[in-house]
């Protein structure tokens, strides 16, 4: 990747030991996605909570 997909600027590659990353010095693009979906965990029902309580 030579061109920043966000702003078209030049992408720089940096490496440190065995790890590397890319960055755009113009817009800060770092090729790391950020999740914006809700956590989406189903709330536990009272029935399940009671069952767990009696089992313990």
């Amino acid at each position: 990747m030579d061109e920043c997909p966000r702003c078209g600027g030049a992408i720089e590659e940096l490496s440190l030991g065995d790890v590397s990353t890319v960055t755009c010095s113009r817009c800060g693009y770092a090729d790391v996605p950020v999740e914006h979906l809700p956590a989406g965990e189903e709330p536990e029902s009272w029935r399940d909570a009671f069952n767990r309580f009696y089992k313990e």
Binding site: L14, L16, G17, T21, A30, V32, V34
Partner: protein, 343 residues
């Protein structure tokens, strides 16, 4: 397996279990820029100094950055300030990503649990910690971890107060900020941070004595000791004065923030102090003395200083991650048993 990660303004540390031992990997969260030459890069590579080459510059990263800054009379650059990503440092994100990846390594398996420390929003400034927290979480998830933030003060409780049912007051004196958490049976009752820590002490001492900040940091970390009486003058004299001021400031804020109602009547609360800024010899005695003088609205059973103050937060993250991983495994086992019973 599971991991804990302390994302600190001065140091980034990971913790993982290896048999009965906890293994820590540490890297200083700073870098310094030096001019590139073939000879310089050869010397750095031969000396195993962690560095990044970019165009006509070389960036020395981590523990060696402070030494190079002092030798070349330059200032270190810091990806974080006041406990969160620095808005003054253009290279903050790639540098943090590289240092974090280097410290935690690849996950042992997909979605390995990792708890990383995140500060509470400070009560003495309008800084928000959300951007920082979400960015670090994204780095780790992108690497293949199932990451969760853990409040830094709560991490101290997990690390140091297991023998007290995770009940007590944990105070983490970090470089960028100080985090405080009051927990009752592992449930945080009250948590806050103040945007003052070791960096504030260093900056004030540097300004007062006309000394470069990195030099002050080196003196503080080498052989600086706190005592009830010190001599005025010099970096050590200034450090003592600002350390005492930091302690008073944190205690004043605890008095303001903790209500009597937060603590069960008749309960004596243990207090544990930790964090890299609490490392100088004499810190614990000075803190105890100032706490006794303050009008704390609850009874304190004792004040202890963590045995390894630099490692507490990473260890607390590991405790939380392992506990979470056990729950996940138990649930998976139950689901497998239920599926087998239905067949």
């Amino acid at each position: 397996m599971a991991k804990g990660l302390d994302v600190g303004t001065m140091n980034i540390l990971s913790a993982q279990q290896d048999g009965n031992d906890t293994v820590f990997v540490q890297q200083r969260n700073s870098f310094v820029e030096i001019e590139y030459s073939d000879m310089a890069e050869q010397m750095l590579s031969r000396s195993e100094v962690l560095h990044i080459r970019k165009d006509d510059k070389v960036y020395v990263v981590g523990d060696d950055a402070l030494n190079f800054a002092n030798i070349f009379n330059k200032e270190t650059r810091r990806p974080m300030k006041h406990g969160i990503l620095s808005n003054d440092e253009q290279s903050a994100i790639p540098m943090m990503k590289l240092i974090i990846e280097q410290v935690v390594g690849e996950p042992a398996y997909p979605d390995e649990k990792l708890y990383f420390s995140s500060p509470a929003d400070p009560i003495d400034s309008d800084l928000s910690t959300l951007y920082h927290q979400k960015t670090i979480e994204s780095f780790l998830d992108d690497m293949g971890y199932d990451s969760e933030p853990i409040n830094e003060g709560m991490s101290v409780i997990y690390s140091e107060l297991a023998d007290n049912n995770f009940t007590g007051l944990g105070i983490s004196f970090g470089a960028g900020m100080t985090n405080v958490c009051l927990s009752y049976y592992a449930v945080p009752v009250m948590k806050f941070s103040v945007a003052r820590g070791g960096d504030w002490v260093d900056e004030q001492a540097a300004r007062a004595t006309g000394t470069p900040v990195d030099k002050v940091t080196s003196i503080k970390e080498d052989d600086f000791e706190l005592d009830f009486t010190t001599d005025v003058g010099g970096v050590e004299g200034a450090l003592s004065i600002y350390y005492e001021n930091l302690l008073d400031y944190v205690i004043e804020n605890i008095v303001t923030e903790v209500d009597e109602e937060d603590v069960e009547e008749g309960l004596d609360v243990p207090v544990v102090v930790t964090g890299g800024t609490s490392s100088p010899s004499g810190f614990e005695a000075l803190f105890k003395d100032h706490l006794e003088d303050a009008n704390i609205p609850f009874s304190i059973s004792g004040v202890t200083h963590a045995n390894e103050p630099l490692y507490s937060v990473a260890r607390g993250g590991l405790v939380a991650a392992r506990s979470d991983e056990d729950i996940d495994h138990d649930e998976a086992d139950e689901e497998a048993e239920a599926a087998a019973a239905n067949e």
